[in-house]
């Protein structure tokens, strides 16, 4: 089911949470709403779910105006950052909730819940209470619960935000694989650009209640529409008046055309890459990421003079 957000604005008192936001989400895609805290990304998601009403503008779900529709009639699944587990129900009862309130026959409910328990790998935990599960397990339960009534849209509000780094990465991969199997139109909110880049088909970058840019991860990374998008999606340097990503800088041992003279201040090996911090003649800092092979070729050392040149077709913008 496609989602259309048309000219939506929302204020909380004096605070403008969303300012004339429009966005189109294709049916079956996985879209990330990416932005810093307070950018309005969660508010936008909650408006799509019907948990908040927009002051102006409209929400169109599958071609039908859903702006005034109550959340229980929108057929959306919602996953909360802090799980919102029903504490007084077992895992099985939690997952069955959406089917029970729809008064589905018991045999159908049992079958569907078993299927979902398998999908989220919680088979052995069906009779436990949420309090007896780890954070990652609770979030998988919440996902199964949201998917049980076969929603047309799955909305996730910082779903991995409360989990530690390893579980986060695991669940992130798992969500991508799940999406490839289930194909439900999915929108998730995150402030983690890596997370957004890694699993989504489309990213909408929000800042101060506006969408700065929406597009594929590649588009946004290589052709950012604003300085905000550019810096939010990754580091960027000014090298000789050109804005460029750290791994799109060539280092040369001798002066060449367009190359800027700089001094190596610090060398750090990060495993796969080496990170070099340079100072140019004006004292401006340049961060360069080199592949391991290139770093071994160059053998950089502290105090060495090098020449930095942006790779020609990778310049993001000209700095003013």
């Amino acid at each position: 089911m496609s989602i259309l957000v048309r000219n939506v604005s929302k204020r909380f008192g004096d605070f403008v949470a969303l300012d004339d936001v429009s966005l189109e989400v294709e049916s079956g895609s996985l879209t990330a709403l990416l932005g810093p805290s307070g950018s309005g990304k969660s508010t936008l998601l909650r408006i799509v779910a019907g948990l908040e009403a927009p002051d102006t503008g409209e929400i169109v779900l599958a071609g039908k105006d859903a702006t005034a529709l109550a959340p229980q009639k929108r057929n959306v699944g919602f996953v909360f950052q802090h799980y919102a587990a029903f504490k007084h129900m077992t895992v099985r009862e939690n997952i069955a909730f959406g089917l029970r309130v729809r008064k589905r026959p018991k045999s159908e409910i049992d079958e569907r819940v078993d299927e979902l328990l398998g999908l989220v790998q919680l088979h052995g935990f069906a009779d436990r209470y949420p309090g007896q599960l780890s954070g990652g397990q609770r979030q998988r339960m919440a996902l199964a619960r949201a998917l049980a009534p076969e929603p047309q849209v799955l909305l996730l509000d910082e779903p991995f935000g409360a989990l530690d780094a390893r579980v986060r990465a695991e669940l992130r991969d798992w969500l991508r694989r799940l999406h490839d199997v289930v194909h439900v139109t999915t929108v998730f909110v995150t402030h983690d650009q890596e997370e957004a880049m890694e699993i989504s088909d489309q990213i909408a970058v929000l800042n101060h209640g506006r969408i700065e840019q929406a597009g594929t991860p590649r588009d946004l990374y290589d052709r950012p529409a604003s300085e905000f998008v550019m810096t939010f999606l990754g580091d960027a340097n000014v090298v000789g008046g050109a804005l460029v990503r750290p791994h799109d800088i060539e280092l040369l041992a001798a002066p060449e055309e367009d190359a800027v003279e700089a001094m190596v201040v610090r060398v750090t090996f990060l495993g796969r890459d080496a990170k070099l911090e340079l100072h140019d003649a004006d004292g401006g800092e340049i961060v360069v990421l080199l592949t391991r092979d290139r770093a071994e070729e160059l053998q950089p050392w502290r105090g060495q003079t090098v020449w930095a040149r942006p790779k020609r077709d990778r310049v993001l913008a000209r700095a003013g």
């Binding site: 779910a49 229980q72 919602f78 802090h82 919102a84 959406g98 309130v101």
Partner: protein
């Protein structure tokens, strides 16, 4: 040493203020065995007084439970004009002397009162009858359920309710399956406190009931009446029933507290 002294002081204070008088009531009641106490309790007037107290409690507790839960949800979950006023108003019966409550009912339902004339014309008795006693009791026991439920609702937050809505639950289903189970121990606790207050109410009821023996006399009023008629055995026997009810309430409170902690 100071720890022992502190404990001793606390226990001594409790003994002097609470346990001592209660023990004396027990002792006095059963001084001459169970016989006199039993016959004092089974006089028609006393039996009626106990029955009336139970009836009034059975009216006031459900009314205030429903009202308390609805008010708590309104205060915590909704935004509406006059919310601050409602929040403050709920505490009024705690601050107001029950006698004042009784007096205000007089002003409303007395023959010269706002509704009194109209009600008298239609043959509805309020004052010096069950309705006035029930209204007075409802008034003084109003805050307890709401006051217990409000902090619990705040604590659990509304995410579970929102999750239920997105899963297709209607407002009533959400209340029935999510909100109510989450606040059930707070409601139980509030109901117990309300019950205790209803059983023990004296001042407001004294003002509006007319104290007609065998008709509008509640258990607490009966204790006073027996005492003033120099029937100490009778007074003590009813007092014992009320005291036992209080102890039962206390036990229920303790139990529901430990259950609530376990849940």
């Amino acid at each position: 040493m100071p720890r022992h002294a502190l404990r001793l002081a606390a226990l001594g204070y409790l003994a002097a203020i609470l346990v001592g008088p209660l023990a004396i009531v027990f002792w006095r009641t059963f001084e001459n065995g169970f016989g006199p106490a039993w016959s004092a309790l089974t006089t028609p007037e006393t039996a009626h007084a106990l029955k009336l107290t139970l009836i009034v409690t059975a009216i006031a507790v459900p009314v205030n439970t429903v009202f308390g839960v609805v008010c708590a949800i309104a205060i915590v979950r909704r935004r509406f004009p006059g919310k601050g006023f409602l929040n403050a108003f709920i505490d009024l019966p705690l601050a107001l002397s029950p006698v004042v409550v009784g007096l205000s009912l007089y002003l409303l339902y007395g023959r010269e009162g706002w509704f009194g004339g109209w009600l008298a014309k239609h043959g509805i008795e309020v004052l010096f009858a069950l309705p006035a006693i029930a209204i007075a009791t409802v008034f003084v026991s109003l805050p307890f359920v709401a006051r217990e439920v409000v902090p619990t609702l705040r604590e659990i937050g509304d995410e579970q309710e929102q999750a239920a809505r997105t899963l297709g639950a209607s407002g009533w289903q959400t209340f029935r399956r999510i909100t109510l189970p989450s606040i059930r121990w707070a409601v139980v606790y509030g109901v117990i406190l309300t019950t205790a207050r209803c059983l023990g109410e004296y001042g407001a009821v004294a003002a509006v009931s007319g104290r007609i023996q065998g008709r509008t006399e509640t258990a607490t009023l009966r204790v006073q009446e027996r005492y003033e008629s120099f029937d100490l055995a009778g007074a003590y026997a009813i007092a014992i029933v009320l005291a036992l009810a209080a102890l039962a309430v206390l036990a229920a409170l303790t139990l529901s507290k430990s259950r609530a902690r376990a849940a």
